[in-house]
Amino acid sequence: MTRDSPPVDANDISGVLKALREADLRLEELTAGEVDWVSDRQGRSYLLQHAQDQLRDADAAKQAAILNALPAHIILLDAQGLIVSVNETWQQLAGGSVLLDSAYGIGVNYLEICESVPHAYSADARRIAAGIRRVLAAQTKHFSTEYTCDPSNDGRWYLLTVTPLAENRPSGVIVMHVDITEQKHGEEAIQRFAAAMDASADAIYLVDRSSMRFVHVNEAACRAQTQTRACLLALTPAQVLAAPDEDLKRSYDALIASGAAAKPVEVVRRREDGSKMWVELRRHAQRSGDRWTIVSLVRDITERKEAEIRIVHLSRVHAMLSGINTLIVRVRTRDELFSESCRIATEEGGFRMIWIGMVDRNSMKIIPVASVGADPEFLSFVRERFSLQEGAAYGNTMAARAIREMKAMVANDLETNVEVLFHKRHFDAGIRSMAMFPLLVGNDVVGVVGLYAGESEFFHDGEVKLLTDLTRDIAFAIDHIEKQEKLDYFAYYDVLTGLANRNLFLERTAQYIRSAASGGRKLALYLIDLERFKNLNDSLGRPAGDALLRQVAEWLTLNVGDVNLLARVGADHFAVVLPDIKRDIDVARLLEKTMQSFLGHPFRLNDAVFRISAKVGVALFPEDGADADTLFKNAESALKKAKSSGARFLCYAEKMTASVAGRLNLENRLRLALERNEFVLHYQPKVSLASGEPTGAEALLRWNDPGTGLVPPRRFIPLLEETGLIHDVGRWALKSAIDDYARWRRIGLRALRIAVNVSPLQLRNRGFVAEVKQALGTDAQAAAGLELELTESLIMEDVRFSIASLRAIRALGVSVAVDDFGTGFSSLSYLARLPVNTLKIDRSFVIDMAEGPQGLALVATIINLAHSLKLSVVAEGVETEEQSRLLRLLDCDEMQGYLFGKPVPRDEFEAKYLAGGAPPGAGGRT
């Protein structure tokens, strides 16, 4: 309404005001006071005075109510800083601060109060005054600060805010003090708590269960995670622990449910650099309102833990040390020392694996001698591939270096040190650290000890030092045992010959007796006395005597074959034990060997050749004694008797002497028999069943002993085979038969083919076919006159080889007959393949044949079978006319037996069967 008015003076204004008031009153009257607001038709409006008053009053009341309702101390200042209004809080409660006092009422200049605050609080107060001034001067729209100016020492804190009353023009301010003591104390508490947590060396993590996020982490936690606090707080516990969120929730909930702090647990972790650390983890759940906070304390106990582990390791090593030192005192052999040391190392020392290797300077290799926990493949690799040669393949192993450098080699963490040989194998076997210790005797490294622990970082200085001491002790023991062994050697060995002495021999014999007894075997003990030894010793001097004894020892070793069976038991006495006597003849065999070749052996003494004879006494287990001492004593007494009698040897039991002597005698005589032409061939005719004519002859070996006369074959042929004389005798028989056949042709006799028996030994001899060929010589017709008889069982022993040999024989033109057919279980399939000409039916079938229909059927079958295979059939042992008749009926080709003629000497055979082209006997029978 004053918009268009020109400038007016004071009178005008009062005039206008008066007019307005009057108009207002008029309107009031007009409207009975019920109207607040009027406008003219142009929309110009104004409030009636009473409405204006009402509005103003209502605004002031509203503002006052708001200000009074606020829990803050509020004062309104005008542009000069005078208090124009205070709220109720101010009036009632002000008094906690020098800047807050209900005494400061309306009209007081608050700026002056602030600026005149004395002593301790003046700085804060002046700062506040300056802030109020800036807002009053519209230099800033807002000022706020926290302060404590509490003289009561309650430590109350206030937040002071200053806001202008009007937006644009300076027209006073509202100053509000809010009591923030509680909040401040809370913050302080948290800060103090945080500071305390930061001072802790333990890493502390506070996790809010519902959000599963960190609410606080301390410095140590940040260090442990190598993160800034902000970064760490941005992560979730699940990320930091690399554990599934669900698992964590479960464990937190369990913790909350248990209501107690969880028991501290020790956990191994890896640091970023790979080193191992131990931590102790404590957790508890803390409630604040309806929220749960999980407090985790993680303490680095690596140092303590390592100390504990060190103590455990050291005590294990000590246990092992004391075990092995006790062992060293009582141990007698190196083997026991090594194997027991290994056992103690694993059992007392708790090592996973140990091996001990000896240095072999010749081959520059390591020979493992004892181990526990090592697999054979590894040990054989050590033995075969490890070298002590620097630069060689596998020449730079820890073991080789320990030996070369004479000091312990350690690999303390196989998890990170993967260059160790067999790393994977060791690691898979649970080995985490290992060390090699040289075994030093004096200044020589004699071996190496490899120790393998299941823990990493086992071999620290303390352990290495103790173990070095230990290996030194073991090396000392090795040395000691070696010296002891030398002493033992003197106790058990004959120094001159190196053979066992009597003590050792008796011990060994006792062992052999135990084994023979449990195996039900016999055992023979021989005592040998060198004849004329004393004379030799006296005449040639003792060195020559010693040389002879050494030569005899060598000879015996060579001939007996096993030095453990020999001993020198007296000045010129030797002993031999044969622990496995199968037959009595074996007793004689050694004697024979000894006697024959010992007598013939040229011993050289002082550049001259001497032949030494010996006498032997024999005792047999179990016949002559049940224990070594008795046997030895009885052998001694047998030897004594032999020396006084003329006998070259004697057994303790006379009967045995006779038996052995008999065998020896027979053998010797058989040997001589060949030389002296005492063997002869007798011939037995084979006759054709069809014509009754002789068709062949079987040569049979006989021994014409000049002392006892004709010896039956069963008495000497087994011995020929046992002694191998069969080769020589067989060769002789073959030659004789071929010669006889040639002779018959030569002198115009009827030349019958001669069958010669072949023994198994002959056939097995690979040179047999060549021998036959040689025996046939250049005579083109010789082969036609020769037939070789082999028993069925001999052929079947090695069918493939037999077939090959027989083919070769057939290729020479020589016939082949299968002897004793029917006793050797031939299979028909082989029979068809055998390159033979003739089957000879065994005499037992011929006898059975006449006994009943079954026997007859069997022979009939054999004959038919043979004929179908294009073989001719000879029946052996035919003694009766009945047998002959049946065989003829069965279409058998030939017969042989007493019915037609016994084996007779050649001359007789020639006269009886070969003269005049027709056999005289045969004609008479048909």
């Binding site: 019920e34 109207v35 607040d36 607001w37 009027v38 406008s39 409006s45």
Partner: protein
């Protein structure tokens, strides 16, 4: 009878003034008593919507307009004289009967 028809009022007020506040209170009381369930009241603050006051040729507050039922009526004042108001609104007969 008009007793069943719907009443529509528009009350122009000057917010914050005591007469206007009384008018609102009186109108509400009157409607609750005599027009329960069949009235609509729109309150227009002339300070906020001066153009509507001008358009309706309202030159004083509080002013009540009866928009329906016919005929329209206009009352200025605090509506404290109930009988007069009811008469003006055509409700006096019903009331007296």
């Amino acid at each position: 009878m008009t007793g069943r028809s719907k009443f529509a009022f528009r009350l122009f007020v000057a917010s914050g003034t005591i007469n206007s506040a009384e008018a609102i209170a009186n109108l509400n009381a009157l409607c609750r008593k005599h027009l329960a369930g069949r009235h609509e009241i729109e309150v227009v603050d002339v300070f906020r919507e001066p153009q509507r006051a001008l358009a309706e040729q309202i030159h004083m507050t509080p002013t009540l307009l009866k928009l329906a039922p016919f005929p329209a009526a206009r009352i200025v004042g605090t509506l404290s004289q109930t009988r007069r108001v009811l008469e003006t609104l055509g409700l006096a007969a019903a009331d007296s009967a």
